[in-house]
Homo-oligomer: 459 residues x 2
Amino acid sequence: MYSPAIRKILKAKGIKAGDRISVRKKGKTVEGLLMPKTGFSDPDSVVVKLDNGYNIGIRHEKGTLISRSKKKEPGEILEEEKFEMGKIRKSLLKVKFDPKKPKVTLLSVGGTISSRVDYRTGGVYALETPQELLHNIPELADIVNLKMRSPFTKMSEDMDHEDWQELAKHVARELNSGKKGVIITHGTDTLHYTAAALSFFLGNLSKPVVLVGSQRSSDRGSSDAGMNLICASHVATGKIAEVGTCMHGSTNDDYCHFIRGTKVRKMHTSRRDAFRPINESPLTRVWPDGKTEVMNRNHRTRGEGKVEVDARFEPRVALIKVYPGSDPDMIEYYVKKGYRGFVLEVPGLGHAPTKVARKPWTEIIKKYTEKGITFVCAPQTIYGRINPNVYTNLRLLYHDAGAIPGEDMLPETAYVKLGWVLGHTRDPKKVREMMLTNYAGEITRRTEMDTFSDEGLNE
Amino acid sequence: MYSPAIRKILKAKGIKAGDRISVRKKGKTVEGLLMPKTGFSDPDSVVVKLDNGYNIGIRHEKGTLISRSKKKEPGEILEEEKFEMGKIRKSLLKVKFDPKKPKVTLLSVGGTISSRVDYRTGGVYALETPQELLHNIPELADIVNLKMRSPFTKMSEDMDHEDWQELAKHVARELNSGKKGVIITHGTDTLHYTAAALSFFLGNLSKPVVLVGSQRSSDRGSSDAGMNLICASHVATGKIAEVGTCMHGSTNDDYCHFIRGTKVRKMHTSRRDAFRPINESPLTRVWPDGKTEVMNRNHRTRGEGKVEVDARFEPRVALIKVYPGSDPDMIEYYVKKGYRGFVLEVPGLGHAPTKVARKPWTEIIKKYTEKGITFVCAPQTIYGRINPNVYTNLRLLYHDAGAIPGEDMLPETAYVKLGWVLGHTRDPKKVREMMLTNYAGEITRRTEMDTFSDEGLNE
């Protein structure tokens, strides 16, 4: 139960738990739903559920003003707030970059890193200009001469291959016009799909392309946006000419990992160190002061050649999960719609239901492989490698039915690659050959066993 | 290049790289394809690719006999080999269990743990009797009085809900007839799906149900079968009455982890420590000598009640991956086939393409939710929790279109649960309520943040 002082105010204003309230204290306003007081928390603090889902407690002291909200719905912006937001924007114009520093282009395409939480409404807003992002990161001016452009703006869940193609063109244009490297700010949810796509789309890559997002928006105290961008600036001016992501390497603000675009996966919904390298080490560990430790010698170094875009992509490709009870007939549905290829995310060493009473996957795969459709299997375990040789069922799937064992490629990477390969050829033999050829580090011939260590273990 | 001595033999017998050979040394025979000599390996060792895909090198010494294989194809068993295999089987009959030890039933349903590699052919064979498994594990007799039964035998990729139902009945019958616990030996590829199914199917569980597999077959030096079974025997006679898996907790043969059946996932194709707890700690760490460390206090303890089976299951449920460019129309295909529910494995905090030129997922979900079909979203990141509140697109998906945010449930667990829930009710409100109710530890209200630590990092 709340303290008598708070209960008195609530009663006087007719406010009940669940009502939308606004709490003003020391010039700041927090807005959201009043939560009932539970458990052992401080009875003198009002608990408010922000519209972003987080609860905060505000200690009721002299001068704290609790009132019913004026807003009719979450996300509404009142006139007086617009004025305040305008003031913040004006202050951003002060960020000046040094023309003597290495030139780097930042392409801003959206996501949390281009958003901010309005603490008064709890809603998340896109920044109106990409420059707003730099408001709190004056250190960038010491590292790079940053030019910002925003070819388009999308939340990452809404992006697809046309956005990847558009982005590849912009990256190549920037790199071929004298920039030292390119940074892309992007939503995190599909950041690794875009990273894989650019890895295949950008040929003869001679400079770094660094994808950066943030798991917490840039105006939050715990935001990873600033450090990720600072480390990305070091990577973009560094020696390694690869497409990769640069995100927190731990939950402390100590270093970032630059991870190859074809070997990276978002492995946690919310943690700042959610991006992990799968089946290989990060390329580098980068500290905010520029210190860089090379962790993986398998990489290209900076060169001078012209970057080429080869972004042809067949979108009629699907990524399908195979599991106990899964229905292979759905392949027929896709084929009728004109689909040319499938990545199957299969259990274990690469299995699909084979000796089953209902229709086995192997039967459907064999039928359509013979008609020139491609099936590539990738590990549902995420970590590890498809091994087509160990068991009889595996022989049936790969040697008899004709599925392609996707080696240690991530399912997501295999999906992007299959679209790219089918954008280049429809000859099934050539498709097979290309799927098993390493173009952008997506296949490692030998897995470093210690790239899978202690996850999930509470030690 | 091989050493002159080896080259001379190969030349004399007309053997070339790629030929099927047999190498006999110290009474043992290895058979497979002769590999060309590459790299820095010992030129005095013959490298043979076994039919299981592994390469081994055999040092050529006095008495080593290299010859062309007599076999026409991989997996063929010669008459003389059958005799040797018979001898091994007879020795198994010697395993005797002590009737004074706690009674435990081992239900053997297949998988690698019930198989062995024939090193002479490289093929993998099912054991003819479950007893063969115990050949090398006399320690079991010191822990339990083991009764073995094999209700059916399948490789785990071929199992489905009918096998889970069958297995649940057998488990309940054994537990209700005075056994201290049940051990199930099972293929590893879908072990976690079966573990989740039994977690929901077995009501009023008062004793341990321990699922065990092995990543390497029981006759290999590096096999995990023995230690996993020994630790499982301790769990089956222990205090915790949960369904869970008992597999290696590290790559050393030091301890196993007993992991809750609804929170476990195979996270590596081949490593012995592939099974990981997701979003919580293992229930216990168990050493082969019986030492047990409780790691998670959230568990049921042993009781006396009768175990009940409630295994009704609606198989017309699908687990679908949502990704950039994914096609929501496929839902229509499934609905026409009579499907009642879908688990969507979605990126990030729980997104699906929303503001896209082609048909958005939210539109299809809304359309069919209104017709009584259920959509549950689970994290594609594997680790973490769906948060339906942070972004506008999330509000559209969960608040407007009516998808159910699957909290921190694994996609595979959510799939099994949805089939089980739809086996009990078709009322959409009741389905939603049940999907958001925690029945078997599948939903944790608060994630322990340190259950996701260093995976993928080479440290």
